[in-house]
């Protein structure tokens, strides 16, 4: 049984989240002393991967200094980057491995905990078969560690079930781009954005989730360009949008079909480009025939005139860019939504040129690199398909195993949790993943975790998910390990080790190497440092779509990062894909795919008439394991609030700060209202960074996109009401000043 060994209160008392509010030694004393070194590296929070310099003294990160020479962000940072250093020297930090004991967890030696982990994994596999063990990875890991997690699962454990938390992030975009273009990467570098004449941003709260991108959009507008924003909420960049399309949740693909309908009706499509460089256009054109502006408006809630205007602006520009993020991707038709935008770009010839393209905004720290090298259930390193015999042969040679020994594709992340719930998978080894907060329908996730025969976790803080673990292996923070990541624009960059892990915590890569050794696979995991893993990764990726063969740590440092594919050490890298209309499919063409609208997996009805949509706030990152421990970031947004429109609030007699209930077909959440005109009156928004009774994912549902297997976080049917009383969690004390500061937002 993997139930938490203590009550949540007692676990929280011991392991937090507590708030770190000051640098090591406090504001007034020790931290006044100068840094001994400045380490040029990147922020750990989000796929923008801003360059930052960490101030280090006595093996502790004591602050930061902007890194103004790094071309992507030129010194700019968001509050998460400014305060990220407060995750170091933290009272909650796990300083040694933990083993489950009668009264909670007890500290253990590495030998005892690693032996135990390997033995239990082996026992479960001997009893129930190799595939009874699953492995979770994460996209905040370096590419070396992502590669290692995939290889560990497939070689050391021989299970086919390995997947990662990017399943909640980039897979809809990845599936759509792979199908259309033959490769999964944003085709344009960010430096293309200011060169566009029109940028359409769909389902991307750029200001809060990718703040540095705002600078690129403003530069585009300063040069005379126009910004079109598609979102059910007026996010902060809407103030400077030239056209705002308030799309009804779950109808994005219909809107994009309506836009393409107008383009084709007006004959504004690029016939020469379509003929020379694409297949499948006729079927796409036939599919959007029915989506005239009137019908599109009826479904999407966007006025017909705005649809006409947006379509003309986009098609009449010489250079237009469509950018998108989770807002259109977290749907049971997330792939279709992306395809709709891709089709608009291809039909207007906006691809593979300076200032013209379709760009996904990758979310997690290594959201791009983390999905390229083999921790994804259907891929091998280099973004190769695991079902491709040639790819299997190549990777098998690098791994020194017979190709037949590499398992075939396994379950995706949510499917793994489903399989645990029904008893098919009995053991789980997880790193960089907090599914109890981040997966939909958290009651279901909790039940599944409780059923595990063995649950091992590698983490630096005890996450809510790790409460259920049998063993917790104390791993490392991003600033404690060397490696590379790939940023949202496809730039491979260098994460420099600034400090070594504190106490008896260890590097994550070392933990997996030691486990592999205990599973009898020492010779296939001979690494002494991350660089050796990277060199093997380069070989494994050679010849694949994400080809890293020509990338070295030294070249990254000299050239301020390198864009893949980079097949040889004399290759300059590839900042922009598809130049000259050459795509990655064998025929060199883009394969346009029909994108049809269909109903959400959790449709509204008389009982649940409203849309619930979830997302992020600027001061928190994902499941909050790190940012809910950083005092100033918590003060900025201490608890989830329910955003709703005054018109909806009036119907229910709700004012800002009132406690309200949001009820879906799963359960009910109680939180304070934030009554704002910046959201559609038929929609409520709750950010998802919190656990337990404050978790938005108690409410969401487990419907997946059939191809990408992403959950439909952005649409759940709900109803709201005024709460009879404050919830139990409201009595938890907030940090000093937090409520006062947060009050300014009300």
């Amino acid at each position: 049984m993997a139930r938490p060994p203590l009550t949540l209160d007692r676990l929280a008392e011991r392991y937090g989240p507590h708030l770190n509010t000051a640098p090591p030694g406090g504001w007034d004393d020790e931290s006044q002393r100068p840094a001994q070194k400045l380490v040029k590296t990147h922020c750990c929070f989000c796929g923008q991967q801003c360059g930052i310099q960490l101030k280090v003294r006595d093996n502790q990160v004591i602050g930061f200094e902007p890194w103004e020479d790094f071309p992507f962000n030129r010194g700019m940072l968001c509050p998460k980057g400014v305060r990220r250093y407060l995750q170091g020297n933290h009272p909650d930090r796990l300083l040694q491995p933990l083993l489950r004991a009668d009264d909670g967890f007890r500290g253990a030696t590495w030998d005892e905990s690693l032996d135990f982990t390997a033995r239990r994994l082996r026992e479960v596999q001997e009893k129930h078969g190799k595939d009874a063990v699953a492995v979770y990875g994460g996209a905040s890991l370096t590419s070396e560690k992502s590669y290692l997690v995939g290889k560990f699962a497939r070689v050391a454990l021989g299970t086919r079930h390995v997947d990662y938390n990017g399943r909640l992030c980039m897979v809809s975009a990845g599936t759509a781009y792979k199908a259309t273009f033959g490769v999964d990467r944003s085709p344009n570098p960010w430096s293309d954005i200011p060169k566009a004449q029109v940028v359409l941003v769909a389902g991307a709260n750029v200001a809060e989730c990718a703040p540095i991108t705002t600078d690129y959009l403003w530069r585009m507008r300063d040069a005379g360009g126009k910004l079109i924003l598609v979102d059910p909420r007026m996010t902060p960049i809407s103030r400077n949008a030239d056209l705002y399309l308030p799309v009804r949740p779950g109808t994005d693909v219909a809107l994009f079909s309506g836009l393409l309908h107008v383009v084709l009706r007006e004959g504004l499509h690029d016939k020469e480009f379509l003929a020379a460089h694409t297949t499948g256009f006729d079927a796409v054109a036939a599919a959007v025939e029915a989506w005239d502006p009137r019908r599109t408006a009826e479904l999407t809630g966007v006025p017909p005139e705005a649809i006409e205007k947006a379509a003309r602006w986009f098609a009449e520009a010489d250079r237009a860019i469509a950018m998108h993020a989770r807002g259109i991707e977290h749907h049971s038709k997330g792939v279709e939504n992306c395809l709709g935008l891709i089709n608009l770009c291809l039909a207007t010839g906006n691809i593979g040129r300076e200032g013209a393209g379709c760009m996904m905004i990758t979310g997690q720290g290594n959201g791009q690199g983390g999905r390229e090298h083999g921790q994804k259930c259907d891929q091998l390193p280099g973004q190769r398909s695991i079902s491709d015999p040639a790819a299997r042969e190549h990777v098998a040679r690098v791994w020194n195993v017979p190709a037949a020994q590499i398992p075939q594709a396994g379950y995706s992340a949510v499917e793994i949790m489903e399989a645990i719930h029904r008893g098919e998978i009995k053991a789980l080894l997880s790193i960089c993943f907090n599914p109890l907060v981040s997966l939909p329908d958290s009651a279901h996730t909790r039940e599944a975790l409780d059923k595990l025969e063995f649950f091992g976790v590698v983490d630096f803080f005890l996450s809510e998910t790790a409460h259920h673990a049998d063993v917790v292996l104390a791993g490392s923070l991003q600033e404690e390990e060397e490696g590379v990541v790939c940023s949202a624009e496809g730039r491979v960059i260098h994460i420099r080790q600034a400090v070594t892990p504190p106490g008896d915590a260890r590097n994550d890569w070392w933990i997996y190497v030691e486990l592999a050794r205990r599973l009898g696979q020492a010779e296939r995991f001979p690494y002494r440092e991350p660089r050796e893993i990277f060199d093997e990764l380069r070989e494994a990726s050679r010849g694949g779509p994400a080809d890293y063969a020509g990338i070295t740590y030294e070249r990254i440092d000299q050239e301020q990062g390198l864009f893949w594919p980079c097949p040889s050490e004399d290759h300059p890298g590839t900042p922009r894909l598809f130049e000259g209309g050459r795509f990655f499919h064998d025929d060199g063409k883009a394969h346009m795919q029909v994108a049809e609208y269909r109903e959400s997996g959790d449709p509204c009805d008389a009982e649940f008439p409203l849309f619930l949509t979830t997302g992020r706030v600027v001061s928190h990152y994902l499941s909050g394991t790190q940012t809910r421990r950083i005092g100033p970031l918590v003060a900025q947004y201490p608890e989830p609030r329910v955003e709703l429109h005054p018109r909806l609030a009036l119907q229910h007699g709700i004012a800002s700060d009132d406690w309200v209930t949001v009820t879906t077909r799963r359960t009910v959440l109680t939180a304070q209202a934030l009554v704002v005109r910046t959201i559609r009156p038929d929609t409520v928004f709750v950010p998802y960074h919190w656990p337990g009774d404050r978790s938005a994912n108690q409410l969401t549902h487990r419907t997946l996109d059939p191809r990408s297997k992403i959950p439909e976080f952005k649409v759940s049917a709900c109803r709201i009401g005024k709460a009879a009383s404050a919830p139990a969690w409201a009595e938890q004390s907030l940090p000093a000043g937090a409520s006062q500061k947060a009050a300014r937002r009300r």
Partner: protein, 191 residues
């Protein structure tokens, strides 16, 4: 290259509070931010405004200081109150038309933005203008801002009968030379 100027453009602010957080990291007032960031009226709008010291040519804070503790340097930067002189009376806090000074109760001293003297004096940009991800706070050569942006930098502000000119500029709609938000300022009134 022309002289550097500090430019505030509230219309580009995304309310992320990166400036507020970064200011608190400063060597001279560690743990305390000197920047104010306001959500104007969250119910009606997502609009936010960052406020740094405007560094007035004739600072109101200094005019009203009974202890002669607030000084403007030759570089035009208005400093925090001098420590031995300041009596923490809060006159400056009440008088500043931009609402900038803060009295730090613990050390009985008024502190305010000094445009990161520690950074600008060694050729760096002020911290807030370096980290701001949305160009709401910028420290740039003055000719560059004129070329790069449509808006006009404005140094003059009217508050009732008081006109204040400042070193820091606010970016205003094209053609504006002065900012006033009071109808009374536009009326003809007999002197």
């Amino acid at each position: 290259m022309s002289e550097y100027g500090f430019f505030v453009d509230p219309s580009r602010c995304i309310g992320c509070e990166s400036c507020v957080n970064a200011c608190a990291e400063c060597e001279t007032h560690r743990g305390h931010s000197m920047i104010h960031l306001d959500f104007l009226d969250r119910r009606e709008t997502i609009a936010t405004v960052p406020m740094v010291c405007m560094h007035c040519d004739d600072p109101t804070c200094a005019q009203v200081c009974p202890a002669d503790a607030i000084k403007k340097g030759d570089d035009g930067i208005v400093q925090s109150a001098l420590k031995p002189r300041c009596i923490a009376c809060s006159n400056c806090v009440l008088a500043c038309p931009f609402g900038v000074p803060k009295v730090m109760v613990k050390q009985e001293q008024m502190m305010k933005c000094d445009m990161c003297y520690d950074r600008t004096s060694v050729g760096k940009r002020p911290m807030c203008a370096t980290v701001c991800p949305s160009q709401a706070l910028a420290y740039l050569p003055k000719d560059l801002i004129q070329i790069g942006r449509r808006e006009t930098p404005v140094h003059g502000f009217r508050f009732g009968r008081q006109t204040v000119t400042t070193r820091v500029a606010v970016m205003a709609p094209v053609g504006r030379t002065e900012i006033s938000l009071d109808v009374a300022d536009y009326l003809w009134e007999q002197p």
